[in-house]
Amino acid sequence: MTDLLPHFNHWVTVILMVVGLYAVVARGNMVKKLVGLAIFQTSVYLLYISPGKILGGTAPILSEAYTVYSNPLPHVLILTAIVVGIATLALGLALVVRINEAYGSIEEDEVHEADGP
């Protein structure tokens, strides 16, 4: 089973990344764009975490009962990235709120129209 789909995690990571990318490029609604960006970001988390997993290993919290541990380094990087991600998402959403107050819309097309040619 291990040999059957050695890259399954990576493929799903790519699918999620593409879904996020599509939302950012294709959708005009800014909240939707930011949610798409968040999905893109989670695919990056996955890209870091899944190579760190060792089959038969366990979480990197040391204990005498275990000898094989998964790689702790990606965990450190992604743990901080999640909280940073929510802070940057908040910043993006704050911009959306300000744009809505200035233009009365959060649709990209309408904002462009209001700006004129």
Partner: protein, 350 residues
């Protein structure tokens, strides 16, 4: 080699969770009702948290659970309340973005072919610094949780940078939405302006629901105590300043949701929040300066105590506390900034 669990079940669980995540993600993109999008993104984030636990990243799973269960839903909903909940039908052709996305996807899938297979213990990533960390962390820092040891000590610089980014993000939101002093309660009215009279009375919204009020009063101390447990148990089990900070902020947010934002502001005033946001960064950076003054390198905690190992442990505790202070106050400040914005008047524009 002692192995645990059964790899087959782990792989199957991993695969099912990934497929459910894809379903949820596509649902998020397809739905036009932004409110439903927010709900589904909550489901997505919990699937992510479970997947992280299945992939042995318990600390990451805990962070994702803490952020996804409360904070991100609250954040997105407050923005929907200030804007609109329905996405306008798009006028552009989705075909070009679709082609771009598919081409990028195919290129990336092609790229994955060269990566080592999933779960391979001999992959290059497993052979670099990780064995060093696993072998040395407990001996040098006394923290069985290697993630916490690496986070706070070995890669302390990195974490300091991340905390600074959170600080900057929080300040950015406050500047954009609150003008740092206009709505924040630091200065309720400009000097010389006429007295606006008594504070306008907010309409209590959820207050009449007795069941909620009682249950939340029971729940709040539990959340706060558990956040403290997560904070100070972080070197022995999953947890640490990031998770505990988000959890504690979520508790205050829950209080605000039920008893009104002014009530929450009496518990955790904006003045205190604004003081705490830089304080955490200062605690973190100050620990580095202290170790510098004691003759060590910046953020080298070994010199903080006569025994290097207990110095490391002390340093980790102090630094994690700094992280907690900044993260919790930033999250709370962000919530206040969004919640004190005047909501859109009248019916939602269609």
């Amino acid at each position: 080699m002692t192995t645990v669990g059964s790899p087959e079940i782990e792989l199957l669980l991993n695969a099912i969770l990934l497929l459910l995540m894809v379903v949820a993600a596509i649902g998020v993109i397809r739905l036009r009702n932004l409110f439903a999008v927010v709900l589904l993104s909550g489901v997505y984030s919990f699937l992510m948290a479970t997947l992280m636990v299945a992939l042995d990243a318990v600390d990451v799973g805990m962070t994702e659970a803490a952020v996804g269960a409360g904070m991100s839903v609250v954040l997105l909903l407050s923005v929907l309340g200030l804007t609109r909940t329905r996405e306008a039908p798009t006028r552009r052709r989705p075909i070009v973005p679709l082609i771009i996305s598919v081409v990028v996807g195919i290129a990336l899938v092609h790229g994955t072919m060269d990566l080592p297979p999933f779960g391979d213990p001999n992959a290059p990533a497993q052979r670099h610094v990780a064995p060093e960390y696993l072998a040395r962390a407990q001996v040098e820092t006394g923290a069985p949780n290697v993630v916490t040891a690496v986070l706070a000590s070995y890669r302390g610089y990195d974490t300091l940078g991340e905390v600074a980014v959170i600080f900057t993000g929080g300040i950015g939101v406050l500047v954009l939405l609150a003008g740092l002093g206009r709505y924040t309660g630091l200065r309720t009215r400009p000097p010389g302006a006429p007295d606006p009279g008594p504070e306008p009375k907010p309409v209590p919204l959820m207050e009449e629901t007795v069941v909620l009020r009682v249950a939340v009063k029971l729940l709040l101390p539990l959340i706060l105590v558990f956040a403290m447990y997560v904070q100070f148990h972080g070197d022995f089990g999953p947890g640490g300043g990031f998770q505990a900070g988000v959890a504690a902020a979520t508790a205050i947010i829950l209080y605000g949701l039920i008893f009104g934002i002014p009530a929450a502001r009496r518990v955790a005033p904006m003045r205190v929040v604004l003081f705490m946001i830089p304080l955490g960064v200062l605690i973190f950076a100050g620990t580095g300066v202290a170790s510098l003054l004691l003759g060590g390198n910046y953020l080298d905690y070994s010199v903080l105590s006569s025994v290097p190992r207990s110095g490391q442990h002390l340093g980790i505790l102090v630094v994690e506390f700094g992280v907690f202070v900044t993260v919790s106050s930033t999250m709370l400040g962000i919530f206040y900034a969004f919640a004190s914005r005047p909501p859109r008047d009248g019916p939602e524009p269609s």
